[in-house]
Subunit: 312 residues, 2 copies
Amino acid sequence: MTVVALSGGVGGAKLALGLSRVLPPEDLLIVTNTGDDFEHLGLAISPDIDTVMYTLAGVANQTLGWGRQDETWSFMETLGTVGGETWFRLGDRDLAVHVERTRRLRAGETLSAITADLCGRLGVGPRVLPMSDDPVRTRVRTDDGWIDFQDYFVRRRCEPVVHEVAFHGAEAADAHPDFLAALADPRLKAVVICPSNPFISIEPILAVPGVRAALADCAAPVIAVSPIIGGRAVKGPTAKMMTELGLTPSAGAVAKRYAELIDGYVVDYADMDQVTAIGAKVTMGQTMMTTLADREALARTVLGAAGVLRRD
Amino acid sequence: MTVVALSGGVGGAKLALGLSRVLPPEDLLIVTNTGDDFEHLGLAISPDIDTVMYTLAGVANQTLGWGRQDETWSFMETLGTVGGETWFRLGDRDLAVHVERTRRLRAGETLSAITADLCGRLGVGPRVLPMSDDPVRTRVRTDDGWIDFQDYFVRRRCEPVVHEVAFHGAEAADAHPDFLAALADPRLKAVVICPSNPFISIEPILAVPGVRAALADCAAPVIAVSPIIGGRAVKGPTAKMMTELGLTPSAGAVAKRYAELIDGYVVDYADMDQVTAIGAKVTMGQTMMTTLADREALARTVLGAAGVLRRD
């Protein structure tokens, strides 16, 4: 494994796809946030794993930005008529993954083993690895008190003001041993922090004991990609949350958040004014990933930055 | 409650629908076999309850004879691609009921309470009641030993020769108290044994402790409808199983099977030759239910037979 990428959902998955297209599959390990995971309708749902998996399998729903393409909605439609909860939309195809994952978890398999098998069946080349097989659950403190992440994110559409974020279970979770082994591998060439929301996609990964230390000790440069372009998030509540948490929504403020952790930082050309404010060595690039070519180009930019920064 | 109907799936559901159209909803209690129930893909599936419920709600799939109309199959199609078991077909709409039922059972609700609520939401008038809230599981002994009912019925398409049928858990199950109360009610006018498979649809109900005695003691006549017409079952393995169990597949042989239990027996005009062989008082009618009018007509025939046989 020469590159380890830390990823949340949509934005992270886009760069993970770019990386998967410029690296041999055996050289890329995508470590995925599981803080968004939750049990819903009796099913074990792992939104970030699935977004990465569907994106790399080429079956992601481009229109929605989540779920699967060629999706149908009969289940959800009918669930409403029999009194089930419909605020979290589950497509009929997507549901197959949740049902099968839940069955296998109940049978005693680990989330990582199930993920590896599902990825294999869907034709995903690189390994997609949950940060931990133990449950970690992101919660946010709002004016209504602590609420579960999906309650905030989906049911309340990120509308509540967030005062604090916590990762329930993180302190007791074991980082996946293959994740730590990859970081400790002397052949490691780069760690990429994908342009995901720092507070709810990357920091749950960092909250797992041992991960920060392993990143500090690893032989390769750690390169983050800014999730903020020109003061705005491409998608999701990153900018809104930054403001609520007393930070300026800027590429520079995210870099500061990652300060001790990173050796390099990739920002968009739109954020040229941020460069001097950022301590880590900055690489400029186009971080908006609209097309597949954009994803590949950003992957090359990031790997280039890692090459420049190589310590050995 | 003036009429209690004992029902399995398809054939039973047809007559239950007929009864529901000629009786006020509050006068009809449909007690449903749960011996076919099983856990599959981590979901609690109750095929006979659902067939009765969908039939009475007007949403049953007429073409398939099971499941829901306007069904889509995206879940099943995708489940195959992620390595899930696909031998038991679950439509996307049908799945909503299984997921919601499973969630509510896990939350501690009873099958009967969930069934009542689902029926209410789907607009089913008469009460549909599982024979018991305790699990009863039909198994059949074949040349390969004892196998689960759905394994025999669906996966192996009723192909194995059946030597014996057993109802696992029946001896420890409690008949639903409302079932026993309805049978003990002095206002009861008729008990209808629907034209379902005696061995796998009706006898699981009779195997629950107290049910046979309650039927023997009830104030109303018990009228069975033959599931065999001219030596053949309308649908399903009834005739095949009878032969394998050493019985002649005939309306008369089914009547003998119910011998002590019934006061009246409705057979098709095609089985006129069986009449003298049957001890119970016979009513002739058209038992093949092709149209809705057929279902209503047979319901009237059965209720007429009960009226003739009224004991009070």
